[in-house]
Amino acid sequence: MFEKKDRPVPLANEGLVPEERGLFCDAAPREYAPANKVVEDFWNWARAQSLWILGFGTGCGAIELRPLMTSRYDMYRYGIQPRPTPRQSSVFVIGGYASVKTLKRIVRSYEQMMGPKFVVALGSCTINGGMYWDSYNTIKRIDQYIPVDVYITGCMPRPEALLAGFQELKRIIRAGRAEGQNAYARDFGWYKANQKKVIKDWNMPDYNW
């Protein structure tokens, strides 16, 4: 699928001790090359119908996912369900504020997710810092570190708002405009520089795959 000339320069993985570098992938992510339109449209339809959320509550907003899962709001009827591991997930819900310590896990989990993958960021904190605008340890906008497909405003957003956000995500996916994963691959150097600017003790591979 990918020509040899497209292969990017291997990643340095300087955060790892030299004897561990060989254990990890040194390839940067690459952009997804779409199939022809009919096939891609079909795939996008299928992708939109089964959104599997990574069960990782990154902030206080994760509390809103519980009523979504249970009978009152019942997100399963929309084809949305949580999964226990990044490897099985296609949607990452950033649940509000992200401290630097959590951001490290967010980056790692996001990179471990298999494509196609999408990010829903909920709450004011992911957009402009919210009430943590002057915190020494909380980032003020998540889209500097991982790409975001849909924002849901509010502090907290109600479960109805989350459902509306997921419906919006479905529309975006079906229209073929959920390009966050490709943006991450395209601007990988920029994202990585931003991440390393705030995560001072970078002791993991440059791309956690």
């Binding site: 630097v100 310590k101 490290k104 020494y136 340890n137 909380t138 906008r141 995560i199 003790d201």
Partner: protein
């Protein structure tokens, strides 16, 4: 409690005894005697439980005020033991041998205020922060906003309104100022 107050004053020069509630008092001692005082309170006076230990940055007086919260389960009485330590040289005796859990509080105070407890287990390791390179962030001369502005990217367009003015203008325009 007057008997205890007298004994503490006599043995350790404790001062500023204050009854804050029927079951809660506070007292201040010299930082050099803190371990002796706590040892005596634990083994002789029945205050066997250390429920909490923390620090306050009294920058106006140039000291950190440490507080140890003790409880006598026999009488149900709480005692807060305060001591001041110089901000310029914040080193305090560790009490982890009196209460095993104390090293957690001491690690916290080391990371957040820079107060050292020599000999306390893992006191030099990171506690809640990871890769923190700035000064201890709970010191009051640490400017959190300036650090945040310099470190984290901001989305332009954020505005702030005064809640009282906003409510008056939007919800109750007829109300008096």
């Amino acid at each position: 409690m007057n008997q205890l107050q007298g004994k503490l004053a006599e043995r350790y020069g404790a001062r500023d005894w204050t009854d804050r509630r029927a079951d809660l008092s506070s007292v201040t001692v010299d930082v050099l005697r803190i371990r002796d005082v706590l040892y005596w309170l634990r083994d002789e006076a029945g205050y066997a439980h250390l429920s909490f230990a923390t620090a306050v940055d009294n920058i106006e007086r140039g000291v950190f005020t440490l507080t140890y919260s003790l409880r006598n389960h026999g009488t149900g009485h709480w005692l807060l033991v305060h001591c001041d330590v110089d901000r310029g040289h914040p080193v305090v005796d560790s009490v982890h041998l009196l209460w095993g859990q104390a090293w957690t509080y001491q690690r916290e105070m080391k990371e957040w205020f820079g107060i050292d407890f020599p000999g306390s287990p893992r006191v030099d390791e990171e506690f809640v922060l990871e890769g923190w390179e700035g000064p201890p962030m709970m010191r009051r001369d640490f400017d959190s906003l300036a650090y945040s502005d310099a470190t984290y990217a901001e989305r332009p367009g954020r505005t702030t309104v005064d809640p009282a003015m906003h409510m008056k203008e939007r919800l109750y325009p007829e109300a008096d100022a």
